[in-house]
Amino acid sequence: MSSVLEVTDLTTVFHTRRGLVRAVQGVSFTVNRGETLAIVGESGCGKTITALSLMRLLPIPPAEIVAGSVKVAGTDLLRVDDATMRRMRGSEIAMIFQEPMTALNPLITVGRQIAEMVMLHEGMGRAAARRKAVDMLRHVKIPEPERRAREYPHQMSGGMRQRAMIAMALACRPKVLVADEPTTALDVTIQAQILDLIGDLQRELGTAVVLITHDLGVVAEVAQRVVVMYAGRKVEEAPVAALFADPKHPYMRGLLASIPRVGTARGLASMDDRLQEIPGIVPPLNELPPGCAFAPRCKMADARCRAEAPPFEMKAADHAAACWKS
């Protein structure tokens, strides 16, 4: 299988008054055509900064991508000029956000926003672009697409806006879709609809999807492979089944043991009466401990963990983690 997105050693820092914040440190992964790679982690783990780095959407300064490459079909996005990058956003790599209003202009009708993008990227005429916009809205299953195309974003419900944003992101058939918590703000029944929609479109268009999420349920349902991030670093990577069956990093093991599950009453999942806790909190990124960043919260940590950062290495076939103890 050919990889469409190849991220190598991505390192992003922020220059702040409180010093250098290492938001993303040497993160690498690849995504194949039609594949979904999930990046999971909690707030502050660097997953959103990773996504914004791929899109080159971070404000520079204070941010700076100090190392690495982001290759989409062979072209390194970090090496092209701004004009080329603008062309590639939308046509090669597109992004959808948790809050659709960050991507939709409140002053322009939804149809016109999609049409403008198609005109820009594909040089289509106004009338054709207009028709394409309505087609895309129909494609994402928005009822009465002709009427909805003439509406402003605020006239739509949250789920509908999310669909409109997906329509816009996929209108030019990008090879890579970066989805940053696309369903986190939605109700659970709407979340299920949107996840189905992204999956259907992905199968149809062969899009490679990078799904950023904190929800392990969403990961288990839609991802084929998973990257786990903690404090700016990749700490584990594996196919989804292997990761959930046999997590190698104590952080991932802790996360899986700490989430309550629906279905315990139905016997679909078993659960102790008491949830397992991961003690402590995620360390601030400008005060990272010298060794493994998870060591202060880890039951297994010893002197070596606290002194020396563990290498990211293979622990089983196609299953890698950064831990001295596994």
Partner: protein, 320 residues
């Protein structure tokens, strides 16, 4: 045994005003006739999606907003009929913990004073005694007494929620409304707060009305569960029954939609379609009928009443 809290036919309507004269043109039935009971040392989970009225119920039960109609009985005494001065001593028994530990704590006040405030307001003890009590409360929720002098911004989200819980416990209440208390927290922190709430219940025989959109959390913490849809309770049962044999098609849909953190389970791909309708103009008949895969002609015109189908299991559906 009579329940600690008994809510009957609770309603909260909001006027919709239009035009220069702000004339009332319609009403939103945010809570439309809700009844339930919470026993001592029991957790009632109240679940539903955004706009279903679950938070309004929580606030109306405590009279943080005035209910339009209905009764809320605390140990048999209807608090909706009491004047402010009669209500005040009863407020000590009933507290609330909010979702957002960032906006529910005053950033300019030391957390020790935040937690001690209810004691001061109710004139309990002298300064030194109050300080001692606050130190005990800090210990109970897993904070260090030395942290009493810090300000809210010096705490993480999980710690702030511990502060909120300590404040709610200050007056030794018997009933706490917990409105999405872990929804703003990271997963690894959620478990800490859920365990704390369950420990406190065991130690002090606390009762909770636990409001959440997260069914997994509710399945873990609640004893009984009420499911709300557009201002009404559509199903009400003990936890095991609700999660193993849900009867209302909406409960079914909710359970089917929750993503399971287990890649070996293949989800049946049959999801309810459509959006949650606006509570301003809810659908006729059964509010769920436009999204219900089983809806019949009758469902479109006739509103189903909540009725008992088995002991302790109530459902509002014509077809079940």
């Amino acid at each position: 045994m009579s329940p600690l809290i008994e809510v009957s036919d609770l309603r909260k309507y909001y006027p919709i005003r239009k035009g220069v004269l702000r004339r009332q043109v319609a009403q939103v039935h945010a809570v439309d006739g809700v009844s339930f009971a919470v026993n001592e040392a029991e957790t009632l989970g109240l679940v539903g999606e955004s706009g279903c009225g679950k938070s309004t119920v929580g606030r109306a039960v405590l009279r943080l907003i005035e209910p339009t109609a209905g009764a809320v009985k605390l140990r048999g005494r209807d608090i909706t009929q009491l004047g402010k001065s009669d209500l005040r001593p009863l407020r000590r028994e009933m507290q609330i913990v909010f979702q957002d530990p960032f906006s529910s704590l005053n950033p300019r006040i030391r957390v020790g004073d935040i937690v001690g405030e209810p004691l001061k307001v109710h004139g309990i003890g002298d300064r030194r005694q109050r300080e001692e009590k606050v130190a005990q409360l800090f210990a109970r929720v897993g904070l260090r007494a030395a942290q009493m002098r810090n300000y809210p911004h010096q705490f993480s989200g999980g710690q702030r929620q511990r502060v909120s819980i300590a404040r709610a416990l200050a007056l030794d209440p018997s009933f706490i409304v917990a409105d999405e208390p872990v929804s703003a927290l990271d997963v690894s922190i959620q478990a800490q707060v859920i365990n704390l709430l369950m420990d406190l219940q065991r130690e002090s025989r606390l009762s909770y009305l636990f409001i959440s959109h997260n069914l997994a959390v509710v399945e873990h913490i609640a004893h009984r569960v009420a499911v709300m849809y557009l201002g009404r309770i559509v199903e009400y049962a003990d936890k095991a029954t609700l999660f193993t044999r849900p009867l209302h098609p909406y409960t079914e849909a909710l359970l089917a939609a929750v993503p399971m953190p287990d890649p070996t389970l293949k989800r049946q791909k049959r999801h309810v379609s459509g959006d949650v309708p606006s509570p301003i103009s809810p659908p006729s008949g059964c509010h769920f009928h436009p999204r219900c895969p089983y809806a019949e002609a009758r469902c479109r015109v006739e509103s189903p009443v909540l009725r008992e189908v088995a002991t302790g299991h109530q459902v509002a559906c014509h077809l079940r």
